[in-house]
Symmetry: C2
Subunit: 504 residues, 2 copies
């Protein structure tokens, strides 16, 4: 891998004086293109110690329009970061449309350090790199341009610079592991080549640069960014032309009912006749809430977070079920996140960004009233999103939920199901009830007309996102009391299981 780089290439002061201004113009022209086409640009600057990552970061801030550029260093993890899925700290810093983010080390820094210091096995390191690759693919698919630099030094130069660095005592103060890595040149090099091999992909290629000569290094960095942006813009144009074709190339929707094998739910297969006994309802509800209260406190103490997702028809009783669950959870450790139209900041990011940003801390219970599944439901049925994008969302959602459920955290996904007739009855009822009237909008009536399209979308959603770690619970909601008890039972069950699994 490293042989591909011509080493020890030098750039004379004279040549630099000619080249730099030319590249500088091209570089911010590239940045202008990003702004114009609303392309987010993510630049990762990694490399061996002393190769001048910091200088490159500063040079980019100098050469590019700093009004649209942010540097991010992922150094010490704050407890808010520790208490959330691993990638949360990266998601919160991802560039918006037209913005440039420079990641110092990015998501490679920590795994590289840990592997080079023998803190993780080669196996762990590999799977970590696979996750990096999947994340990068997910971002690239959404239109982000990813440029990754590895700044290389031969051992001799590296060691010479290390000696110089060691004079800056404070550096050692503040990055305790710095030294440990620095002295292990070969370890870092093998870790790096492994990482590069595993994550060097067309959608997020690595550019390896001999950083011995600072001028040469900076010119090569600029060139790589410029060509990456231009390639991306060209690709966009090409893609727009054959958008039709590429859509046609996508597999047909799975026809509704594919799940009727039984393992995967399918709406038309749901028995809506189930009812709760009104006599015992109150008693069971109370005891469920009492248990959930105790269990949720235990989960909090053990740092197990619970995420509940509620989807389903309008008027299917989501709000009522949510209130019954939360009546049993201390409001200090629970939160409802109603999902409605995204803000412009949210629209400028990957569609999952708005959910990442609100992820609860460890131990909390967070309830999403509607969720990221809007991507494959309303956005699909209403044609708000190109088919290519929503059909890609299934796997993106699975990856997202994989992180949500890591470390024994709980994720429950509920679909409250009712018949069109029952919905009509409830709409009428709402219109008759003063404090429910506001819940009924013309849109609700329009959605009713698309009932079958939603059934098809929901069934495909169940099929593609019912993972082992996060299955769908389709609840018969024709009888509200029955539905509420079913939901609360599932929550209690999940809490009990998680508490039993979790090693103390």
């Amino acid at each position: 891998m490293f042989e591909t780089v011509t080493m020890n290439e030098r750039c004379s002061e004279k040549k630099y004086a000619e080249e730099a201004p030319r590249l500088r113009v091209k570089l911010f022209e590239a940045q202008r293109l990003c702004i114009e086409h609303r392309i987010p640009l993510l630049i990762t600057v990694a490399g061996v110690n002393g190769a001048g990552r910091g200088s490159v970061v500063n040079r980019l801030s100098e050469w590019m329009d700093s009004k649209h550029l942010q540097n991010h260093v992922f150094w010490r993890e704050s407890d808010e970061e520790k208490a959330r899925p691993r990638d949360w700290r990266f998601w919160r810093c991802l560039p918006a449309a037209g913005e440039t983010a420079v990641f110092f080390g990015g998501w490679y820094a920590e795994p590289l350090r840990a592997y080079c210091c023998d803190e993780v096995s080669g196996h762990e390191f590999n799977s970590r790199m696979h996750q990096c690759r999947e994340l990068e693919m997910c971002l690239a698919d959404s239109g982000m341009v990813l440029v990754k630099f590895w700044l290389h030094l031969d051992e001799k130069t590296h060691d010479e610079r290390l000696k110089k660095r060691l004079k800056h005592k404070e550096l050692l103060h503040f990055t305790p592991y710095d030294k440990k890595v620095s002295v292990n040149y070969s370890g870092m090099l093998s870790a790096a080549s492994k990482a590069i091999t595993l994550t060097d992909r067309p959608f997020a290629p690595w550019t390896i640069i001999d950083a011995t000569d600072a001028r040469q290094r900076d010119l090569m960095v600029a060139e790589a960014i410029i060509s990456a942006v231009n390639r991306a813009v060209a690709a966009r144009a090409a893609k727009r032309q054959c958008a039709e074709a590429s859509n046609a190339a996508l597999p047909e929707e799975t026809s509704a009912g594919l799940g009727t094998a039984g393992i995967i739910p399918s709406l038309n297969g749901i028995d809506l006749s189930s009812k709760a006994d009104p006599a015992t309802y109150k008693r069971e509800l109370a005891s469920l809430q009492h248990d959930i209260r105790t269990l949720s406190f235990k989960a909090f103490k053990r740092g197990i977070s619970t995420t509940l997702v509620f989807e389903g028809w309008d008027a299917s009783g989501k709000g009522g079920a949510i209130r019954r669950v939360l009546a049993g959870v201390d409001s200090r450790i629970s939160r409802v996140i109603p999902v409605s139209a995204p803000s412009d900041e949210e629209l400028a990011h990957h569609y999952l960004w708005r959910f990442w940003r609100h992820l609860p801390r460890a131990g909390f219970m967070t309830v999403y009233d509607r969720s990221w599944y809007g991507r494959v439901l309303v956005e699909r049925v209403e044609n708000l999103t190109p088919r290519e994008d929503w059909s890609r969302a299934y796997s993106e959602i699975n990856l997202f939920e994989e992180q949500l459920t890591a470390n024994n955290n709980i994720l429950l996904k509920f679909w409250l199901h009712i018949s069109p007739e029952e919905q009509l009855r409830r709409f009428r009822e709402r219109e008759a009830t003063p404090w429910k009237r506001y819940k009924i909008t013309p849109e609700d009536w329009r959605n009713r007309e698309k009932w079958d399209a939603y059934v098809q979308a929901a069934d495909e959603m169940f099929l593609r996102t019912s993972t082992e770690y996060a299955p769908w619970h389709v609840i018969a909601g024709e009888d509200k009391k029955f539905a509420r008890l079913a939901v609360l039972r599932a929550v209690r069950e999940a809490l009990r299981t998680a508490l039993a699994n979790k090693k103390k």
Copy 2:
């Protein structure tokens, strides 16, 4: 204070059955009004333990449109919160236009607890309450409706409920101080009466409710919110009518030059002839950067954060100066925040919210390229903001900066000053330099025509916001080198002083 409440009032089940539906309708009609008029609504629910604060919070989520309502509990401080000014955790949860936030305890919970447990002196408690009042005034001025509830119980009822509570062992687990407060009924009561007396103001009144009877309690809560919103809407209408009058009632702008007394800078009084010796520039710059590097690491280690604000004319050299400062600071502990047009999320909040949300953690150096002073500069000169609002901003900014500089944190405010002639020269130069051309916009030319208006605005800004803890540094920028050295010297000086002051 507490005598004003009719105690032990009861609400029969029958009366409740009649009243509740009526109030419920009115309540969400009030919420609809907030959404329609884009009024943020902040409801604080405080009270003695066992009075049912949690039940009230849940009841509100049930009665109001939960899609526009968020509950917030300020419980254990995360380290990200600890590492920022005290009010940061509240600002990040403030409701946006049209949204409702229910604060469980709000900014009163912690001071009340601490005072009732004798952890803070009466003096400290008083000044804390003054700060709460000032914050509430600042929010009310920006159009927020604040409703504050104190749920009261007589000692007998309180003690009975405490006994019941103590059966919930887990409660004691999770809120270690709960018990300590609960048993100290009289202490909490005197703390509360003190807090209420000090913060019961027309713009943020307290409603004291006898919480003995849950039904009565909930009805009174609903009524208070409804009338508060209706009063606010009426007030708005009235205000719109006499907007002219109220503007006229404001004091005249201070004419430029008022500051020439010498203590406060005034632009026309600035000597622009100063130049740096080109021969020694490089050397001094290097040594300044070296010192700043070492000092900034020390400051980081000691948790002293540095905030640098750069204002000044277009092309006055802000960007260049910023780069020279940061060249001396490790990019892991520094950050630039370029301030441009606000997002819609930001526009939906108090104008300071967008700055609060980006505040750095303790120990970091954050550079604002333009800042909250836009409120009294561009927004004033371009008439983007009513006079009433920008003229109020001076004191709001002073309060904000008081928190920024608490605990010996550093805040430096630089105005880079140049002559109109020099600006013209630089504009032309930029147009001639390819990679600077993008920096010149038609707007820059328009701003030039308003030079005198900006001078007046700047001078009044210096006058009203040059506080002892955060004075303005007006830098003669005609000679870029001179300006850069002056800025770096000020930064080094400030770091040295702070490090000397800070007790280890």
